[in-house]
């Protein structure tokens, strides 16, 4: 019995060592662009039967991770490291609902929005990319255009959506990722659009746009 136990311990330690080696090797094979606290912007445009509305925020957290042989330099004609256009990227976008502000300052709208989106239980809008394909051809010195597919999670509900994005090199190691007018329906995420007195009715259809600045850091910040 003792002998088997000892062997199991050695075996477990060996596997753990291999995994550790594997992990170290994986971190050297990727380049991680972390969200930057300055320069980003997200807007959600909506309407109602009375007036349009817009919320805006400047905090977009998360990261973009690509294999280290991929060179995301939009000044170049080709996307080095992804000859077939398919990018093996890991992308997590995280937008805190509390960071969104209603631009017109309609009294109480921020509080109502946070409640409608169950922000206390689900504080962020999250988008996790599952597929990322470069649209060809790409002209040098223009932003890369990608078709992405991913899981959009809002208020505890996840739906798969398509989202075209562009990626532009701002400076070495810094990118701006842009998406514009992405249609989303509140009711698809089980969010009840606000209705007041049966007369003021929020339209469930909204459009999400963002400009997201990410960069390679010497010390990556903890992404959550």
């Amino acid at each position: 019995m003792k002998k088997i136990h000892h062997s199991r311990n050695v075996f477990t330690a060996a596997i753990a060592g291999l995994l550790l080696l594997g992990t170290n090797a994986r971190s050297e094979d990727v380049v991680k662009y972390h969200a930057k606290p300055v320069g980003s912007k997200v807007t959600i445009d909506g309407t109602s039967n009375v007036h349009d509305w817009k919320v805006e925020g400047t905090l977009i957290g998360g990261f973009l991770e690509v294999p280290s042989n991929v060179v995301l330099d939009s000044s170049q004609a080709a996307l080095a490291g992804a000859p077939d256009g398919k990018l093996k990227a890991k992308v997590m976008v995280n937008i805190s609902i509390a960071s969104l502000n209603n631009v017109h300052k309609y009294e109480g709208m921020d509080n109502a929005m946070q409640e409608a989106m169950h922000a206390q239980d689900f504080p962020s809008i999250k988008y996790q990319v599952t597929e990322m394909t470069l649209k060809q051809p790409h002209a040098a010195a223009t932003p890369f255009q990608f078709d992405t597919k991913g899981e959009l999670s809002i208020s505890g509900v996840t739906n798969v959506i398509s989202m075209p994005v562009s990626i532009e090199t701002i400076e070495k190691g810094k990118l701006k990722i842009t998406a514009s007018g992405i249609p989303v329906k509140m009711t698809d995420f089980k969010i009840k659009p606000p209705v007041k007195m049966g007369l003021f009715i929020t339209d469930p259809a909204v459009k999400i746009s963002f400009e997201w600045v990410v960069g390679v850091s010497a010390k990556p910040a903890d992404a959550k």
Binding site: A35, P37, V38, N49, V50, H51, E56, T58, L59, I60, G61, N94, S96, A98, S99, N101, N102, V103, K105, Y106, E107, G108, M109, D110, N111, A112, Q114, E115, A116, Q120, P123, K192, P193, P194, V195, K196, M197, G198, L199, F200, I201, A221, D222, A223, K224
Partner: protein, 477 residues
């Protein structure tokens, strides 16, 4: 103000009325030719939602439970929790629960406890600040005690509302402002209530838009016959209770009752004063005090429009009011006996017509006919409302405290969101950049410092009976 601009102001207010759930009559009026659409929408309308437009509760503590501290406690209890999420008629609990109160005087604490029966009681504010359940602190102690408490509260990570004047010396006022400026994770507000009051914002629009023309003179007064003398159970308590009558630590009538008016003028004129002249004396209450019971002062501004302020504890005639005089019109601001704050515009006979006056409600004030400056003052809106409720029946203090609670929640959520994603680097700049999205205007540390320095210097002029220059550097934090 152009007709387009005036109509926009009117339209904005009508829209706001609608969003607050005004009567159907005024809704239909505000929407013009849309009544049929409104009826159609009602037939097909989806289920009514019950989202609260108020922030979640912010647990408050009040330090200083004298007359004004108790007024604050009572007003906090009135701040609404909004509709109940379950759709029932029972309102949600107030969003500013008072969880702790503090005072060194037992009598004050006992009286305050009547209005905050669930609050924990402290006689040492240090112990109160240690309580994790206290999120926000309102400092309503005597002025000369503010600095120590405010600095400690900010250090303890609490949102702070500090009454005005914030301090009795320029040095203390600057220390408070610097501490507030550095405390980026919390909300700091000073008790300059008018900055949160929609009636004053409405008046400010008329001044800034040029409706009164170039301002040539401003005037305000506070006349109320009262002693200010308190009695304490011991000589020590008596001295502490009568801090306002002690020249060494009191900013006198100018600071203790005039701060709001002086700030209003700084705000409306959009300038900082350059000189103060004052006079004062003890004309009636000769009881050993060394603070004047009657004062007059003149505050000079770069535009040469002077602000004349007088106050007395010796006579109540004509109470309290403020006036702004411009080349085209004058504005009178006063509070009625019922507590309603009202303003009127008196146009000069040769002033250009703005157009909207035709629709405006006019009232006789003495021999003059004044245009009522209130959001629901147009004749058509008045006609549409069956029983118009004044939108300004709530006190300035109510609006100021509501702004404090909402802005404290605003700050806390923004700070948490930033730190979660990016840590603390750059937090201050980000929070400052989001200030423009605050829905509830209020006086911050800068306005509090400027108003406090103004009244400290005017009081100095009154005490010395002379003119004092106010260099620009004095107002720099």
């Amino acid at each position: 103000m152009s007709q387009d601009a005036a109509e926009k102001v009117s339209a904005d207010f009508n829209r706001r009325e609608f969003l607050k759930g005004a009567s159907l009559g005024s809704l239909m009026l505000a929407m013009g030719g849309i009544p049929l659409q409104a009826e159609d929408a009602a037939k097909a309308s989806p289920e009514q939602t019950h989202y609260s437009t108020n922030s979640p509760p912010v647990a408050c503590a009040v330090i200083g439970c004298g007359v004004w501290g108790r007024e604050i406690i009572q007003t906090l209890a009135l701040l609404p929790g909004g509709p109940n999420p379950d759709g029932s008629k029972t309102p949600a609990p107030p969003n500013a629960p008072v969880v702790a109160i503090c005072d060194t005087v037992k009598r004050a604490i006992n009286r305050a406890k009547e209005f905050a029966p669930k609050a924990e009681v402290y006689d040492d504010y240090h112990k109160l600040l240690e309580q994790k359940n206290v999120e926000a602190v309102i400092v309503a102690t005597p002025t000369h005690l503010h600095r120590e408490i405010v600095e400690a509260a900010l250090k303890a990570g609490k949102h702070v509302y500090c009454e005005v004047p914030t301090a009795h010396t320029v040095e203390d006022a600057r220390a408070i402002a610097l501490a507030a400026k550095a405390a980026v994770k919390v909300n700091f507000q000073t008790g300059l209530q008018m900055r949160a009051d929609p009636t004053k914002h409405y008046v400010q629009k008329f001044i800034r838009s040029g409706a009164v023309g170039k301002v040539v003179l401003a005037r305000a007064q506070h006349h109320k016959k009262e002693s200010w003398r308190q009695t304490g159970a011991t000589p020590e308590l008596d001295k502490a209770a009568n801090w306002r009558l002690d020249k060494a630590i009191s900013t006198g009538l100018v600071g203790e009752v005039g701060a709001q008016q002086f700030d209003l003028m700084n705000w409306f004129l959009n300038e900082l004063p350059i000189a103060a002249t004052g006079f004062g004396g003890i004309l009636n209450w000769n009881d050993g005090r060394d603070v004047a019971d009657t004062i007059q002062s003149v505050l000079q501004f770069p535009s040469k429009a002077n602000f004349v302020y007088d106050a007395t504890l010796c006579n109540s005639c004509d109470g309290e009011y403020g006036m702004i005089y411009g080349i085209n019109a004058a504005i009178l601001m006063r509070q009625t006996k019922e507590g309603e704050r009202k303003s009127w515009l008196f146009q000069e006979s040769d002033s250009p017509l703005l157009g909207w006056e035709v629709m405006a409600k006019k009232e006789k004030i003495g021999e003059e006919s004044g245009i009522s400056l209130a959001a629901d003052a147009s004749k058509s809106v008045k006609a549409a409302n069956e029983a118009p409720e004044s939108p300004y029946a709530l006190s300035s203090l109510h609006y100021a405290l509501k702004a404090f609670i909402e802005n404290s929640h605003f700050t806390a959520t923004k700070v948490a969101a930033y730190i979660e994603n990016f840590g603390e680097d750059g937090l201050g700049e980000n929070i400052a950049s989001q200030a423009k999205f605050r829905q509830f205007p209020a006086a911050g540390y800068k306005e509090g410092y400027e108003a406090t320095v103004t009244v400290i210097k005017v009081n100095e002029a009154v005490v010395q009976g002379r003119k004092i220059e106010l260099p620009k550097e004095l107002f720099e934090i």
